[in-house]
């Protein structure tokens, strides 16, 4: 469900070697079992995924394990990725996120029939004409920073802290309806940046 911006990687001279779009790396993994491509995916995504896990409340060891599992899943399921499901980086973050949700639900005796597996699975072949939408993502990330604070906060609590809308309402002491209207307002502000997404 999540995507990552490549902007910072491209701006970093140490990492110019990994500026190949993730979609191409996934294709190489899927079609050629290319371990070099996997290495590049690791360099691109592992630190991001680990950071995300830490922010979501995992400890160091868990965050490290979940990141390993996420990339291993990318390796094993690369052939199931299809560009029409969204950006490649979105797909990778979806995998990482689902692994964490699985873990949390196992520990809270709240198992989850894996809805997202249905979504992730696809027979569609890897497209060749879809390019990574990394510039759009960079644009959106910048726009999120400029959202009014109250809107930005509900967006972050929802997408980063994983809180249900009712939990967000409790957490910041506002009515549920206000949480929803702030999310709607945030979306309306960001949507113009997403028109050319495909």
């Amino acid at each position: 469900m999540y995507a990552v911006t490549m902007e910072e990687f491209e701006g970093n001279p140490d990492r110019t070697a990994v500026s190949i779009e993730p979609i191409e790396l996934i294709r190489r993994v899927a079609e050629a079992r290319d371990r070099e491509a996997l290495t590049r995916l690791f360099q691109l995504f592992a630190p991001r995924i680990k950071s995300m896990m830490l922010r979501l409340g995992a400890d160091q060891a868990q965050a490290e394990d979940l990141t390993q599992e996420a990339l291993l899943t990318v390796w094993r399921k690369a052939h199931l990725y299809s560009p029409e499901k969204g950006a490649a980086s979105t797909w990778i973050f979806t995998i990482a996120r689902n692994l964490r949700i699985d873990l949390v639900r196992r520990h809270s005796s709240k198992p989850w029939v894996d809805l997202d597996d249905v979504e992730l699975a696809s027979d569609a072949p890897l497209g060749s004409d879809t390019v990574e939408q990394s510039q759009i993502i960079a644009r959106v990330a910048k726009a999120i920073e400029h959202l009014p604070v109250d809107q930005r906060k509900v967006v972050e609590l929802s997408f980063v802290q994983d809180l249900a809308h009712s939990e967000i309402a409790e957490r910041i002491g506002i009515p549920l309806g206000t949480v929803k209207s702030r999310l709607r307002l945030a979306y309306e502000r960001l949507r113009p940046l997403l028109e050319d997404l495909h």
Binding site: Y2, R33, T39, F42, L72, W75, D117, V118, D123, R184
Partner: protein, 219 residues
């Protein structure tokens, strides 16, 4: 299929963030499977989610992490259970998120009488999940037994249609109302109207059915 009614954008945002309780997530996933517009919408929202996480920064992996990954990256290719299962079991007339829970299709549903012209059937959800997922079947011309809402309720039309003050809800349309919305949907004459409904578990739907029917039948 022309779909006129979609989930609220905040509902799609919760779906994308993975914070909807399972029954609601199934209803939204089923609608999204039927609705091109919401698939586009969801792509945009997913991108927002990704952009939010992109600002989460980076955390260095421990030394040797890459080597451990490469050591585990064998040549096996994993085919997900879901792919084969949904292919084998799915009623092709049902969207995949629903078909996997309704192996025999709508014909195999074991309906339970729940009032004149109204039957319900619960669908399985994971243990411990808050909320109820069910099918609701209302005979043509009958009132749909939802009256006033308490807690979130999502209703997706799978067959037939109903009308209320918001308009006509046909196949693929979803009713995503705030909890204080009052309305009285009536199933269109003719074919039974079958809906997929997610409700808050704390409210007994059956009690609400009875409450809705009270004025007519004095139950």
């Amino acid at each position: 299929m022309t779909i006129a009614f979609h989930p609220d954008i905040s509902t799609l945002m919760a779906f994308s963030a993975g914070t909807l309780e399972e029954p609601y997530a199934v209803v939204v996933a089923t609608h999204v499977a039927m609705c091109e517009a919401c698939r586009e919408q969801k792509k945009r929202i997913d991108t927002i989610g990704g952009a939010v996480l992109a600002s989460a920064g980076e955390a260095a992996m421990s030394p040797g992490a890459l080597d451990r990954l490469l050591a585990r990256a064998d040549d096996s290719i994993e085919l997900t259970r879901e792919t084969s299962r949904s292919k084998a079991a799915a009623d092709s007339r049902l969207p995949a998120p629903l078909a996997s829970r309704l192996a025999g299709g709508l014909e195999s549903v074991r309906w339970r009488w729940s009032g004149p012209g109204v039957s319900v059937a619960d669908l399985p959800v994971s243990p411990g999940v808050d909320g109820r997922l069910m099918l609701l079947r209302v005979a043509g011309g009958r009132p749909v037994p939802e009256h006033s809402h308490g807690g979130q309720e999502l209703t997706l039309i799978l067959q037939g249609a109903y009308q209320d003050r918001f308009g006509r809800f046909g196949v693929g349309d979803i009713a995503d109302h705030d909890e204080d919305v009052e309305h009285q949907p009536i199933a269109e004459a003719g074919q039974d109207c079958i809906c997929l409904v997610a409700v808050d578990a704390r409210l007994s739907f059956r009690n609400r059915v009875i409450r809705a029917l009270q004025p007519f039948f004095g139950l």
